[in-house]
C-alpha cells in the first residue's frame, strides 16, 4: 500500500473489483481497500445471475458456478405454478454462482491487471479539502494511514458510509429496504435446474421467497420482505422459518445469512468533487428482482472508465465526473432500473387474488430471450386489461 494513487476504491465486492481492474487496465495506479478479512465472505447473496449478464463481464468458469439454470418457476399465492423456460428447451438461461470464489476471482483479476489490494483495511473517514474528496483514512491492524487519490470510488455496498461522510444522503426509505434472510440448505428435494420464486402476502409481504439451486439436493433458500412489513414476531426470519418447516422439514442448514437489499430509486447524485459512487452504495439494485451483481459490475467498470478520462484531462471536479452519472442513467441499465421501479410499485400493491389471476393466465412461457421484461410483456399480452391499469408505464413495455 502506497500513500498516493490515481484511484482509491472503497470495497472489494463486484463493483470495487471491476473498478480496480478497469483502472489498472487503463494504466492508472489503483488500490482496493476491503474492511473484511476475506474477499467474498460471508456471502450476502442468493447468487443468481442471467447468462448474458454474466458473460458481458467474464466467461463462466466451473470453479465458481454452483449450478446452471434452464428455467425459472413462479409460485402464485394459491400455489399455482408458472414455468418459464427458453424457446430452445433445456438451454441455459442463467447461473447460481459461488460468490465466495466468484468475488475472489474478480479481485484476483484486478490484482493481475496491476491493481493493489489490501484486506482487513477499513476506510474510516474521507480526506476532504475545500469540499473535494482527496482520499481516505485507512485503518489497518491498529494503524491509520492517509491514502490520497485523484478520484475515490465508493463501492462499499448496502452498508455504505463513505459517501454519507462526504455529505451525500444515502438513507434507504424503510419501505424500500428488503429485509432478508437466507439459509444455504442441503439434503432437500428440489428441481436442480430451476430457480423458484414464491409470491404472496402470506409468504413474503411486498417481496418474495426464493429457492435457488446450488447443485445436488442443495439450495439457497431465502426471503426478502419490505422493511415496512417487518417487526417483532413477523420478521424475515419468522417467515422463512415457517416456510422451511413446512417445505423442507428434513433439510439441514449449513449457512445462515441475514441481509438488506435496497429497492428504492438510485441516489439522486452519484458524483461529487473527486468521488464516484457505484453498486449497492449508489442504490442501483434492480428494484423488481433485487438483483445487483450485474449492476455493481457495470457501474464499477463505468466509474473507472470515466475517472481515467477525467484524470487524464486533469479535471476531477463534480462537473467533469458527472459524465459517469449521466452515462449510466442513459444506458439500458439505467432505463431498466427506472422502468422496473415503476413495475415494482405496481406489483407490491396487488392483492393476492389479483396476483393469482395474473399468474393463472400463463402457465407456461418459453421465451426467445429469457428476461424479466419479456415475461412482463407476455403477461400484458394475455391480460390486455392490465394496459389500462399500468397507464403510461404500459406504453414503455410494448
Amino acid at each position: 500500500m502506497k500513500s498516493k494513487y490515481d484511484m482509491l476504491v472503497i470495497g472489494g465486492g463486484p463493483a470495487g473489483a471491476l473498478a480496480g481492474k478497469t483502472a489498472a487496465e487503463k494504466g492508472l495506479s489503483a488500490l482496493i481497500v476491503e474492511k473484511r478479512p476475506a474477499i467474498g465472505a460471508p456471502v450476502r447473496c442468493a447468487e443468481g445471475i442471467g447468462k448474458e449478464a454474466l458473460c458481458e463481464f467474464i466467461d463462466p468458469d466451473p470453479r465458481w458456478i454452483s449450478a446452471e439454470m434452464t428455467g425459472a418457476t413462479i409460485v402464485a399465492p394459491d400455489g399455482f405454478v408458472m414455468k418459464l423456460g427458453s424457446e430452445m428447451a433445456g438451454s441455459k438461461v442463467g447461473y447460481v454462482l459461488d460468490r465466495k470464489i466468484f468475488d475472489r476471482e474478480l479481485v484476483w483479476k484486478a490484482a493481475e491487471a496491476g491493481c493493489d489490494v489490501t484486506v482487513k483495511s477499513r476506510a474510516a473517514a474521507p480526506i476532504l479539502e475545500d469540499g473535494a474528496v482527496k482520499g481516505a483514512k485507512i485503518e489497518h491492524a491498529g494503524k491509520t494511514t492517509d491514502v490520497r487519490a485523484d478520484v475515490v470510488i465508493a463501492a462499499d455496498g448496502v452498508e455504505s458510509k463513505f459517501s454519507r461522510w462526504c455529505g451525500i444522503d444515502t438513507t434507504v426509505p424503510v419501505r424500500e429496504i428488503m429485509s432478508s434472510v437466507q439459509y444455504v440448505m442441503t439434503d432437500i428435494d428440489i428441481d436442480e435446474q430451476s430457480t423458484v420464486f414464491y409470491l404472496g402476502n402470506e409468504v413474503a409481504p411486498e417481496g418474495y421467497l426464493w429457492v435457488f439451486p446450488k447443485g445436488k439436493r442443495s439450495a439457497n433458500v431465502g426471503i426478502g420482505i419490505s422493511g415496512k412489513k417487518s417487526g417483532e414476531g413477523h420478521r424475515a426470519k419468522d417467515y422463512l422459518d415457517r416456510f422451511v418447516k413446512k417445505t423442507f422439514p428434513e433439510g439441514k442448514t449449513i449457512e445462515y445469512i441475514p441481509g438488506g437489499v435496497s429497492v428504492c430509486r438510485p441516489l439522486a447524485n452519484t458524483a461529487a468533487d473527486g468521488l464516484l459512487i457505484t453498486g449497492d452504495a449508489a442504490r442501483v439494485v434492480d428494484p423488481l428482482t433485487g438483483g445487483g451483481i450485474y449492476n455493481a459490475m457495470y457501474t464499477g467498470r463505468l466509474a473507472a472508465e470515466v475517472a481515467a478520462v477525467c484524470i487524464g484531462k486533469g479535471d476531477v471536479s463534480r462537473k467533469a465526473l458527472m459524465m459517469y452519472d449521466r452515462s449510466w442513467r442513459e444506458s439500458k441499465l439505467g432505463k431498466s432500473i427506472e422502468r422496473n421501479y415503476l413495475i415494482k410499485e405496481y406489483v407490491i400493491k396487488l392483492p393476492d387474488t389479483k396476483l393469482n389471476e395474473i399468474i393463472h393466465s400463463v402457465s407456461n412461457i418459453n421465451m426467445k430471450e429469457f428476461s424479466t421484461i419479456n415475461l412482463i410483456k407476455e403477461i400484458i399480452r394475455v391480460n390486455p386489461k392490465l394496459v389500462l391499469e399500468l397507464g403510461v408505464l404500459a406504453a414503455s413495455l410494448r
Binding site: K35, R36, P37, R44, K120, R122, G157, V158, E159, S160, K161, R164, T170, T171, V172, P173, V174, I177, S179, S180, V181, G227, S230, G231, E232, R235, A236, K237, Y256, I257, P258, G259, G260, S262
Partner: protein, 58 residues
Amino acid sequence: MLKVHRDICGYCGCCVSVCPEGALELIDAYLSVEKNCTNCGVCAKVCPLGALEVVDEE
C-alpha cells in the same frame, strides 16, 4: 438507548442503510452505534433477525 444483541446480530448492514442519522456503522463483524442516535427505532424494525432493541435508559 439502542441495544445491540450481539448474540443475535449477523452483521449484515441492513440496519445501517435505513438509519436517517447515519448513526450505525458495520465494522466488519461489529455493529457500532454513534452518539447521534435518536432512538427512533427504524433500524430495530427492519432488522431481519430482531437483534436491535430500543430500551429505556436507567
